[in-house]
């Protein structure tokens, strides 16, 4: 159980004291590259001998569990490119381009739903991108109708239907329309409120745009509104970012994601438009992170883990207290583990014991569907060891603690022996104060919470054969 989260709620002063237990040198020592563990094994372990047939068999196997479904739809279009972006996207102003894409999505839905028991409830729906609000209102209606026709959407009050919004491309009419389509959760991209920073990342977005949408979302009953911020952007300083945070805290979103900008211009072309000399130094970034945690904790937010913060009364923080938090490709989720169907270019599915990924090239994605087959190009079927370790890493990332005895019992293994290598690695982390140990129960300290990826890496057996330079830095 994540006892520290409960403590943070009951004793805000204690939480504030915890946040000051900060050790620059220690954090820098652990500031190596590492996976974000939105999946285990990570996408780098997916192989190209995994085909559409493997995916459809997994879909059919998954029906036995009758788990609810979670649908992710990738809308790859953006009207304008933000220079920090590392997502899969296509820059265009022509909304007509979305029409053929929607047809392909529909074909993918048909091919997928053939293998599914569509009585299974669609508990989660997430539109990401790119920019989902690139679609016209009629195209959004159309997409919802197709999803409903193929999978049967839910109107249950506990459904979790979320959409990512670019406040520059949405207004109150958009929100009213999305609400009428059944969405009940929003995530708004903000990144930074400082004009100089906004100009440098090609994303000028006055605060009032965000504020207007937040007010309307509140009136319409959208819940758990999330704002995205990024630190490590050009011209940011500890002071300027503190100023942004101060304004964000005033806006009082239920959830906050504060991502670390990883400058990898060789991998992501738009980032070449960012001048490396304008980026804050490693020290400055660390100071920003420190300020972020301190200010948000002071303001009453719970640090869920990784980049995520939530108000203590939000469902995310509640789920963490109850030990029911889940990790998925969108970060954290308060909803029970579903079979996740990823639709669209570059989308990843997690179904039964497999991961399956669509091509990142639009042309390849479209070609596959035009030939009447699922677009799966990569994937992995997890063996028993992968499944055990996935559970360990997921619980660790969500609970900030792991009870290896319980894992041992569930999987009928001798945990001390099975995880011997991991226990050895965790020993150093324990000495460094990242984690406390009682028998086979490990609990991350506040610093360890920040470096939770590093603790998870101790259990990762795929890491050795991957090379670390493809992952972003931990902090």
């Amino acid at each position: 159980m994540p006892v520290h989260a409960t403590a943070a709620l009951a004793h805000p002063t204690l939480a504030a004291a915890e946040a000051t237990a900060w050790d620059d040198a220690l954090i820098r020592r652990y500031d190596t590259s590492g996976p974000r563990y939105t999946s285990y094994p990570t996408a780098l372990s997916f192989h190209d001998q995994f085909h559409a047939d493997d995916m459809s068999q997994a879909l059919e196997r998954s029906n036995a569990s009758q788990k609810p479904l979670s649908l992710y739809v990738h809308v790859p279009f953006c009207r304008k490119i933000c220079f920090y972006c590392a997502c899969n996207k296509i820059a265009t102003k022509n909304t007509a381009l979305a029409e053929p894409y929607l047809s392909r999505l529909d074909r993918e839905m048909v091919l997928t739903s053939r293998h599914l028991d569509t009585q299974r409830p669609v508990q989660q729906l997430h539109w990401g991108g790119g920019t989902p609000t690139f679609l016209t209102l009629d195209q959004m209606s159309d997409l919802i109708d197709r999803l409903d026709a193929r999978f049967g959407l839910s109107s249950a009050p506990d459904r979790d239907y979320a959409v990512e919004i670019d406040p520059r491309e949405a207004d109150v009419f958009t929100l009213r329309h999305l609400q009428s389509l059944g969405f009940n959760r929003l995530s708004l991209g903000v990144q930074d409120l400082n004009l100089r920073v906004q100009t440098a990342i090609n994303r000028v977005q006055p605060r009032v745009l965000t504020e207007t949408l937040m007010e309307e979302a509140h009136r319409l009953g959208f819940r758990s509104l999330n704002l995205d911020l990024i630190y490590g952007l050009p011209f940011q300083t500890q002071q300027s970012f503190a100023d942004t945070l101060h304004q964000i805290i005033e806006l009082n979103p239920a959830r906050l994601s504060v991502f670390n900008y990883a400058h990898m211009p060789t991998r992501f072309a738009p980032q070449r438009r960012i001048n490396a000399a304008d980026l804050p130094s490693a020290e400055e970034k660390l100071a920003m992170l420190h300020t972020t945690i301190e200010m948000l904790t002071q303001a009453g937010y719970v640090h869920i883990g990784m980049d995520h913060f939530a108000r203590p009364d939000d469902s995310l923080a509640q789920a963490q207290r109850n030990g029911t938090l889940q990790r998925n490709f969108q970060g954290y989720s308060s909803h029970a583990q579903c079979d996740l169907i990823g639709l669209g270019v570059s989308a990843i599915s997690r179904v039964d014991d497999v991961y399956a990924q669509n091509p990142t090239q639009l042309a390849h994605y479209e070609a596959a569907l035009d030939e009447g087959r699922l677009a799966t190009v990569k994937g992995l079927r997890l063996n028993k060891d992968d499944l055990i370790r996935r559970e360990v890493i997921e619980r660790l990332m969500c609970d900030m603690a792991i009870d290896l005895d319980a894992i041992g019992q569930r999987w009928e293994i001798d945990a001390a022996d099975y995880f011997a290598t991991a226990l050895e690695r965790l020993h150093t982390a324990e000495q460094d104060g990242l984690v406390t140990r009682q028998g086979l129960y490990f609990q991350a300290t506040p610093i360890g919470r920040l470096l939770i990826r590093h603790l998870a890496m101790a259990f990762d057996t795929h890491l050795e054969c991957q090379g670390s330079q493809r992952y972003s830095k931990i902090v």
């Binding site: 209102l137 209606s141 009136r219 819940r223 758990s224 979103p253």
Partner: protein, 249 residues
Amino acid sequence: MSYPASQRRSLLQEARCQTCSLSSLCLPLALELEDMSQFDAIIRRRSPLKKGEPLFRQGDPFTSVYAVRSGSLKQVTSEGNGNDQLTNFFLPSELVGLDGIDEEHYPGTVIALETTTVCEIPFDRLDSLSEELPELRGQLYRSMSKELRDDRRMMRLLSRKTADQRLASFLITLSDRFRRRGYSPYSFRLSMSRADIGNYLGLAVETVSRILSRFQQQSVVAVSGREVNILDMQRLITLAEEEAQTITR
């Protein structure tokens, strides 16, 4: 559309309060027959407005209020920045122009949505007549009060309600206005376009169309062009009242 001279004359002649089918809903509602002729004497008959023709424009000096005899009108308020907001619809028996009394000019342009006839009631004459006829004054107050109440309801609708609730409320209000005039509350014709409805309710026209077709799928209403049939009034009322899901921002 223009009327032949004979028909126009008969429209004008027919427009007498004593014989008007709307008199029981209109200003002379409370008047005795002999008083009604006094009231009738101050009314100016006007030739019908064509579709799209303005009754008056925003900023015009306030001189009269108008009672709608037939047809319908919309009030459009411009904010100077090119944004036109549709602020009211007027149906037969309803009074147009009451919101111009205090500032002595009309705050919005009122445009006919279809061929529309109105009775012009010069306000200075109405004002002095209502001193003689307390029943008339009472009815004037009631009309104003009703307009205030309707505006407050509209504010609540626009400040909180979801798109479904807005459209359901709108249809119920229209139905009620038809019912009060003795028409079927279940079957009526919309004189306004989807775009007008969207503008009035603060919704994109796509949202209006979307929700109308959803209401149709749920067999709450049947819509064909501008003809509306309310199939399940109880359900429509529930849709209008349903509270948005619990808010935990």
